[in-house]
């Protein structure tokens, strides 16, 4: 299983490995400050007899460059962290939606081959737990708790046939259009890194922590 490339990191790791003697307590040469126990993976009983103590670091891998992190770090959090510069409008979003999204989600966003995106029904009371018929009626408008999730998901994975092909402006526009269709923002809304995190979704406060804990109680 070892690949040739692994040999390249051997030199980097020799120093740290050499610091841990066979079964002896760690030498002073080990760096300290690790937040975890020396054997954090539960194999202590089996490993104690022969394996050397874990070094605090092996030195495998290499430092990530800022450019590498920037290329892959596309996620967006509810407070807007990760949103790029750009802007989009409802009108622009309507054009992009018709060209890129309608084939799967229907001309009005109410579902076709794939999920329905638009609809506020049921608009009151969040009754999804009560009726299996409501399973397919979950939409952005009545179920999604965060508007930023729309940006994150469309940018990373949509449209399905050419995933990740939309520009930030196009994604902002689609988000504006979908929020408008769901009667969450007005027709003149402009979505940017500043405005999007401020959009309050109807289902924002409906979500709770998992309270299942095992034991005799069924939850």
């Amino acid at each position: 299983m070892m690949r040739p490339a692994a040999a390249l990191v051997v030199a980097a790791s020799v120093l740290t490995l050499a610091c841990a003697g066979g079964g002896e307590p760690p030498s002073e040469g080990r760096s300290s400050g690790s937040p975890a126990p020396a054997r954090p993976f539960g194999a202590a009983e089996h490993a104690r007899s022969a394996s050397e103590a874990l070094p605090s670091r092996f030195g495998f891998g290499r430092a990530a460059t800022d450019a590498e992190v920037k290329t892959w770090d596309i996620d967006v959090m509810p407070d807007g962290t990760g949103l790029p510069p750009g802007r989009g409008t409802v009108a622009e979003g309507a054009v992009i939606y018709a060209a890129q999204c309608a084939v799967c989600h229907g001309p009005d966003g109410r579902g076709a081959e794939y999920d329905s995106l638009v609809g506020r029904d049921p608009d009151q009371g969040f009754p999804f737990g009560k009726d299996p018929a409501l399973l397919e009626k979950r939409t952005i408008g009545n179920y999604w708790p965060y508007a930023t999730t729309l940006y994150d998901y469309i940018y990373r994975a949509m449209p399905q046939a050419v995933p990740g092909s939309l520009t930030p402006d196009e994604v902002y526009s689609l988000v504006a259009y979908l929020l408008f269709l769901n009667r969450i923002v007005p027709e003149n809304a402009v979505m940017t890194a500043q405005t999007l995190p401020r959009v309050e979704m109807p289902a924002r406060h409906r979500f709770v922590e998992d309270n299942r804990r095992g034991g005799p109680e069924i939850r």
């Binding site: 299983m1 790791s13 937040p35 194999a43 430092a63 009726d131 299996p132 999730t149 399905q160 095992g214």
Partner: protein, 409 residues
């Protein structure tokens, strides 16, 4: 897919099917593989590079939706023991199976860490490794048995989105130490390299506990469908969190609220809320024999067999009922009984030929007892969707045919 024709064929020749009752076999007729009349009089085949199943054993996943976002199910009724052959491990993808060159594979770990680091596959394989036999189950497993009730449902159709493998990889705790995860970190994002760039937020505590970056499955590299060349493994947790084709881990101090943990994989409750981050798979069991499409050709002694598992630890007991839940008896558990792992149970039954409803009920080491559907619906509401771990039942008719049924009638 079990075809109705197979059932009719089997029903028409009950006596000849006796030894193979319950298992799918090649049907009689001109398509049956040719074999010599006496194999001791013909020289056999030489060794070969790759083994193959007997042509008499047409095992297969059942493809439920042949879409990039579809799934295929493990043929639970055709398997023995607890290990799922790798090529029969269930599938659930969000945008298909990506093709990844292991030489070009990279895992980026960044965010709230002292040293943002890029690991190659060779780097991951160089770290101390660990192997663990555990199940992975889709949290939607069992949903069809609730919503799309058909008595002609096989264990594969009812619960085929669970599989068990011997996984090998590097404990995530070791990578956390390597990059220096900061003490204030509480969540991390796991991101895949598929076309969905699949993401889930995971508590850092699971990383320090028993999470693993797995690169091997049942002794060989991961199958592409299971995340080749490396995936996140979170023993006992719902399958979608165990991000396949893992390319990035971003450590943070709050969850990211991705699509798959908000609009999907959340559980509406009858009090007009919805449960988020419902990670653990609660205890569950299913009888895999006798079960549709099996036919019991004669009364007498039959071994009821099945699987039980819990995402919270070991299975401590499985009880079996042959009278629709009026009385229960303790089943035998096959060794090994491992935490967060399929556990095989067996119960020897002397069938007197009466109509009988077979049920199994698992208990795990937390004291949790697999609930009835009524118990689940009472606390979760009729609209519940994921995590349907209620007791399953099978009705044995007087003629020996067996059908799926949620409740005795």
């Amino acid at each position: 897919m079990i075809r109705r024709r197979d059932l009719l064929l089997r029903a028409a020749s009950l006596s000849s099917a006796a030894l193979l009752a319950g298992r799918r076999t090649v049907e009689a007729g001109p398509r049956r593989p040719p074999v010599p009349d006496d194999p001791t009089k013909v020289l056999g085949a030489p060794p070969s590079e790759l083994g193959h199943r007997s042509p008499f054993e047409p095992l297969g996943r059942r493809v439920k939706r042949r879409l990039p976002s579809g799934e295929s199910e493990t043929p639970l009724q055709d398997l023995r023991g607890i290990i799922t052959p790798s090529d029969l491990h269930f599938e659930r993808h969000h945008a298909g199976v990506p093709a990844i060159d292991p030489e070009r594979y990279r895992l980026l770990v960044h965010g709230m860490v002292e040293r943002p680091t890029v690991f190659t596959l060779a780097d991951l394989e160089r770290f101390p490794s660990r192997s663990q036999i555990c199940f992975i189950e889709c949290s939607g497993n069992g949903g069809p048995g609730y919503r799309e009730i058909s008595t002609e449902s096989t264990p594969q159709q009812v619960d085929g989105l669970t599989s068990t493998s011997n996984w090998t990889g590097v404990p995530l705790a070791i990578l956390f130490r390597e990059v220096g995860v900061k003490p204030a970190a509480t969540w991390f994002l796991a991101e895949g390299q598929d076309a969905a760039v699949m993401t889930r937020s995971i508590p850092v505590s699971k990383g320090w506990d028993d999470a693993m970056i797995a690169y091997a499955q049942n002794g060989e590299a991961l199958r592409p469908e299971q995340g080749y060349p490396a995936r996140l493994l979170l023993p006992g947790w719902e399958g979608n969190t165990q991000v396949k084709w893992l390319r990035r881990i971003e450590v943070a101090d709050r969850p990211f609220m991705t699509k798959e943990e908000t609009s999907k994989y959340t559980d509406p409750l009858p009090d007009c809320t919805a449960r988020m981050f419902s990670f653990e798979m609660d205890a569950k069991s299913i009888i895999t024999f006798p079960a549709y499409p099996a036919v019991l050709p004669q009364r007498g002694w039959w071994e009821i067999a099945g699987l039980a598992w819990s995402g919270r630890g070991r299975i401590t007991a499985v009880d079996v009922s042959t009278d629709g839940g009026r009385s229960w008896a303790r089943a035998d558990l096959d060794e090994p009984v491992l935490p967060k792992c399929h556990t095989r149970f067996r119960y020897l039954w002397n069938w007197k030929g009466a109509e009988s409803v077979l049920m199994s009920r698992a208990t795990d080491e937390t004291g949790y007892v697999q609930p009835t559907l009524e118990q689940l619906v009472a606390v979760r509401g009729a609209g519940t969707n994921y995590h349907l771990n209620n007791i399953r039942s099978w009705k044995v008719h007087r003629d020996g045919r067996v059908f799926f049924g949620l409740a005795p009638s």
